[in-house]
Each structure stands twice: as C-alpha cells, then as structure tokens.
C-alpha cells in the first residue's frame, strides 16, 4: 500500500516537476544573460495564468493554443520592460535591478487586479483521465508535462543551433567580446530578457493546465520562491539545468510525503517542504554552483 502510494506520488512528482522546470527556465535565462534576478518572476507566471483563464472562459480557446499567445504577449511585455526599465539599470549595481523587477511584479499584480478583480479564478478544461493503477493522471496534466518537455527541447535546440542562440551565449560570457564579434549586444540583451519573460508567461499557461484553479493576482509569490530554489538546484544560469532542477524538486515534494507520513506527531506535508530546502542546502554545500553548472 505504502509502496503503491509512493510510486504514484513519485510519478505525479515527475510530471509536476517537468512543469516546474519549464516554469523556471525563463528565470535562469534572464539571470544567465543579464545577471538580473527577476524577483517579479511569479507575477509573469500569473499573467500567463490569466491569459489561459481568459482565453478559455471568455473565448473558449483551448489552453494548448493559449501557449503561443501567452508566449507572444510575454515577448511583448519583456521588450517593453526591457527598454523602459531594465536597460537603464544594466550598468547599475545588481541590487537595483532586483528592486526594479520586484516593482514590475507588483505593478503587474495591481494592473491585473484592476482588470480581473481579486477573485480566485479557475477553468474547467476536462479531456479525460488515464488510470495508471498506481495513480490517476488527467490528460491535461499529461499535456502540460509533454508541452513543458517540448518547450525545453526547443529552447535547447534554439540556443545551440541558431545564430541568435549563440549570440546570446556569447553575451552571457563577455559582452565586450561579443561586441567585437559583431553581435548586436543591445538587441541580444533585449531579446534574452524578452525570451525569458515569454517563457515565463507561457509557463503560466502550462501551470494552469496542471492546476487550473486558484488563479489570482497574488498567486505568483509562491512560484517565485519555488523557481529560485529550482534554478539554483540546476545551476542558476542554465535553463536546462533549471528543467532538471524542476524534476528533482517535484520528486522531493511529492515523493517524501509517504515517508514522513509514517512518523507520529508531525505534519508530513510541511516536512516535505522542509526537506526540499534541506536538500537545496546540502546540494549547495557539495556543489556551490548547483547540480548542473559548468565549473
């Protein structure tokens, strides 16, 4: 019984982890290229969630189709905030961008609140379930998971196989060096930021496919925290590392419950959270730059 539950939870954790991972790639990308910690990350996830909610409930558009829409809106928001705010702060002390992104997050929350109110929204897109014996998996979750994997793969290919991708990689390493190679450094920054935001907003859609409730202007905070941890697990500046970190995180969160539940007098669920942070610290101690970081 316990083992069946454990297996079921681990499986669910893996599926969830893929979505978590995808939802962190944008954060890692932006940090990797611009050295900007996007404290407003969760707010962009929230925007994506609202896009999915709105498209589905007002226009009846399938959330899968909302992904590209959200991505495009994210790109737009990314460019907007890059040119109005971030660009002016690239040379400022690191902390200045931290504050700026935080404020951007707050601004987004308030704008969305103005538009949609502070209700907790949700949508009900049901396309059946698969009974795996150990657990039951709704098809929407499966789609969210597959979508996440697909996006991660696309990003990898794009980064390593395209010119724009290599331009971004070079800017990450040394912007002056990239400049002498003929890379349009300003544009590379802008598009990296935009791409990071685009991915993040799109991940908001995928997350709602996974968890189609609780959509609210203030829902982002928890995701920001999670994303930070996941990003570090994966090495912070590597988007694929982030994906991997997501899987690890999902497994810990869901997998350890069954074990903690065997202890008397404790709240196992809270302890799974505790464990995930303990593991974070242990990993940082052993590998101070994350699991997948290059030396």
């Amino acid at each position: 019984m316990v083992f069946e539950q454990l297996a079921g939870n681990l499986f669910q954790g893996l599926v969830l982890g893929a979505v978590y991972g995808m939802a962190t790639m944008g954060l890692s990308l932006i940090f990797g290229v611009l050295k900007v910690v996007n404290v407003g990350h969760g707010a962009f996830v929230m925007v994506g969630a609202f896009i999915a909610f709105w498209l589905f409930s007002a226009l009846g558009i399938n959330p899968v189709l909302a992904i590209p829409v959200a991505f495009a809106i994210g790109l737009g928001l990314g460019l907007l905030f890059y040119y109005t705010v971030i660009q002016r702060l690239i040379k400022a002390p690191e902390l200045a961008t931290l504050l700026a992104t935080f404020s951007i997050g707050v601004l987004l929350q308030e704008v969305i609140k103005l538009m949609f109110g502070s209700e907790f929204r949700g949508y009900n897109w049901a396309v059946g379930k698969i009974d795996l014996g150990i657990t039951v998996l709704p098809v929407t979750k499966l789609l969210a998971c597959l979508g996440s994997v697909a996006i991660a793969v696309l990003l990898y290919l794009w980064f390593n196989r395209t010119r724009a991708g290599s331009a971004m990689r070079s800017v990450v390493e040394d912007s002056e060096g990239a400049r002498v190679c003929g890379v349009n450094v300003g544009a590379a920054y802008a598009w990296s930021f935009a791409l990071g935001i685009g991915l993040t907003v799109a991940s908001g859609v995928l997350l709602t496919m996974f968890i189609p409730v609780g959509i609210n202007p203030y829902m982002g905070g928890g995701y920001t925290l999670k994303a930070f941890v996941i990003a570090v697990l994966g090495g912070l500046s590597s988007p694929y590392g982030a994906f991997f970190g997501g899987l690890v995180f999902g497994l810990i969160e869901n997998g350890s419950y069954t074990l903690f539940a065997l202890l008397p007098g404790v709240e196992p669920f809270a302890l799974t959270r505790f464990l995930s942070f303990v593991i974070l610290l242990i990993i940082l101690l052993i590998r101070p730059t994350g699991l997948l970081a290059r030396k």
Binding site: P93, L107, E110, L225, E267, A270, G290
Partner: protein, 333 residues
C-alpha cells in the same frame, strides 16, 4: 583628538533625524503610530544595511532572524508567565532570548551559507527561512502553525496598563533605540578595520584574501551583528506590538524585500541611507494608502522604479557622491 571626532560627524544628521521623528511623534497628534511604523522600517533598514550594505551579500532569508527574535520574546513571555515577580524583567529576558536565538541561528546559517557567493548565497538563505518555517510547522515546534498568542500573559505579568503602554509606546521607543544603536555600530564598523575589510571583500573577495583579510571572519561579524539587530527588531516591533506569533507571518519573505527596498532607496552601505530609505518608503506607503486606498501599489510600484532608475545608488548614495570632498560631505556617508 579633533580628527578622531571628525570621523564620527556623520552620526549628527542621523541623530538629528531620529530625534526629530521622536519629537514629531510625541507632539503632533495622531503621529505616534505613524512614527512607530517609520521607526520600524528605519530600524529594519539600518540593521539589514550592516550586512547587505557592507558586504554586498543579499540575505533573502533575513526575515528569519526577525522571526526567531519574535519567537524569543514570545516564548519568554508565554512560558515564563507563571514565575512570580518577574515584572519588566520578563521583557529583558525576552530580548536576551531574542538576541540569543537570532545569534545562534545566524551562526548556524553563516557557517553554512557564507561559503556561497552571489545569488547562490541569496537563495540558500531563502531556503533557510522557508525551511525553518516548515520545520516549525511540520515538526510542531513551539505550537506549530497555531503559533502563540500571549497578550493575556503580558497583562498578567505587567498589569493591564503597563502592558498596554508597552505595546503602544515603549515598544516603539525600544525600536528607536535599536535603530540608533544599529546606526552607531554601522559607523563604528565603517571607521574601523572591519569596515575596510568588508568593503574590500565586497569588491573582490579573492583579492581581499590575498591582502591578508580573513574574509570569513569579517563576513560572519557583519552577519551576526545584522541578524542580532533583526532579532531585536522582531522582538520589539513584532512580539511586543503584535502580541502573537504565527509562523507564516514572521517568516514572510515580503519583509526581506521591504528591507532591501529601504536600503537601496537610501543607498546601500551608507550610514544615512537606510534611515532616509525607511522614511521615504514608510511615508509613501502611508499617505498613498490614505489618499488612494486600494490603488496605492499601482502608483507606488512605478514610483520605486523611477527612483531606482534615477538614483541607482540610492538617494544618499547619490548625495554622497555629489558632496564628496566638500564640507557637507563630511556629514554624509
């Protein structure tokens, strides 16, 4: 001798501002609770600046030290209430507990996390904060998520009048004292080798090591000092003014972010910065929430963005650069 004193001139504007705040709070009707809030933000900034400003390390989990400080006071009051004749002594014990607990936690965290740099450090500390909270809830330590509500015990020990005065006035005065102390410690550090070592390691840790600076030692000094002040702020501004402690409310990362905003608005690593940052932050919040209730964040967020774009080094950071090598500059650091 005179040159010695000159080094401490920058304390003058700090003291003047705090004194002015106090006087306004006492004498202008309706101002005390506002002043109390401003003092909280200033103290928070002043305390955080000792670590964030001086080392350049971002401790995202800073609020954890306020949290354990709050627990320190709460535990003292709720667990020792049965002892006769403690009177105000219990508050002293509470502060001692707060200091002890935040120091212990900071030593433990520092020993582990200070090996990390940059964003890794920042995120490890988030882990500490969140992890600690979930440990309290999960292992049901100190009442777990039910927390502790202890106004009744406070009334019982001090008497109703005194307990009430403590929560609405004296706690704020204590916060003021903490803020001034934190500012003094900042200046003393700045003027001593500690300050130079910290600046050096903030700029280039490896070079600092080769210069003979025991970077770990100095980081730990700043970390513990800063955390200890955080514990005191928690014990007074939270435990005494807010006679309860619920884990999610005292480990709320939002406060770390507020602290960062305050330090940055004013100017990280400056003496006057956290004070000015705290005033700007607290007053904007207060008046916006009065004049446009419900929409203040919509206005506040862009204001912060503009301030940070215009003064990326913070208001005092900018002023300090402008007045460098002038007569005024002697007072502004």
């Amino acid at each position: 001798m005179k040159t010695k004193l000159i080094k401490y001139y920058p304390m003058i504007p700090v003291l003047v501002l705090y004194a002015a705040l106090f006087l306004v709070g006492r004498n202008v009707s309706g101002m005390w609770q506002l002043v109390a809030m401003l003092l909280f933000y200033c103290a928070l900034g002043q305390a955080f600046n000792i670590f964030l400003g001086m080392t350049g390390y971002v401790d995202f989990g800073y609020v954890a030290f306020m949290g354990v400080g709050t627990y320190g006071m709460a535990l003292a009051i709720s667990r020792l209430a049965h002892i006769e004749n403690l009177g105000v002594g219990i508050i002293v014990i509470g502060f001692a507990m707060a200091m002890l607990m935040s120091t212990l936690l900071s030593v433990a965290v520092g020993a582990v996390a200070l090996r990390l740099r940059g964003a890794y450090f920042a995120i490890a500390t988030i882990g500490v904060n969140e992890g600690f909270r979930f440990l309290i809830e999960g292992a049901r330590i100190w009442n777990g998520s039910e927390g502790i509500i202890f106004m009744a015990q406070l009334n019982q020990i001090l008497g109703r009048e005194a307990a009430s005065a403590l929560a609405t006035f004296w706690a704020d005065v204590i916060v003021l004292v903490i803020a001034v102390l934190a500012a003094m410690v900042t200046l003393i550090y700045m003027r001593s080798k500690i300050g130079y070592a910290l600046t050096a390691l903030r700029e280039d840790e490896d070079a600092a090591k080769v210069m003979g600076i025991n970077v770990t030692k100095f980081k730990i000094i700043a970390f513990i000092t800063s955390s200890c002040f955080a514990g005191l702020v928690g014990a007074s501004s939270w435990a005494l003014k807010t006679p309860y402690v619920f884990p999610p409310e005292v480990f709320e990362i939002h406060y770390t972010i507020e602290a960062i905003i305050i330090v940055l608005l004013g100017g990280a690593g400056t003496l006057l910065g956290p004070l000015v940052g705290g005033l700007i932050y607290g007053m904007s919040k207060y008046y916006l929430s009065i004049f446009i209730p419900g929409f203040q964040l919509l206005i506040f967020a862009p204001i912060i963005i503009v301030i940070i774009v215009v003064f990326p080094e913070g208001v005092i950071g900018m002023l300090k650069a402008k007045t460098r090598n002038t007569a005024v500059g002697r007072y502004i650091i």
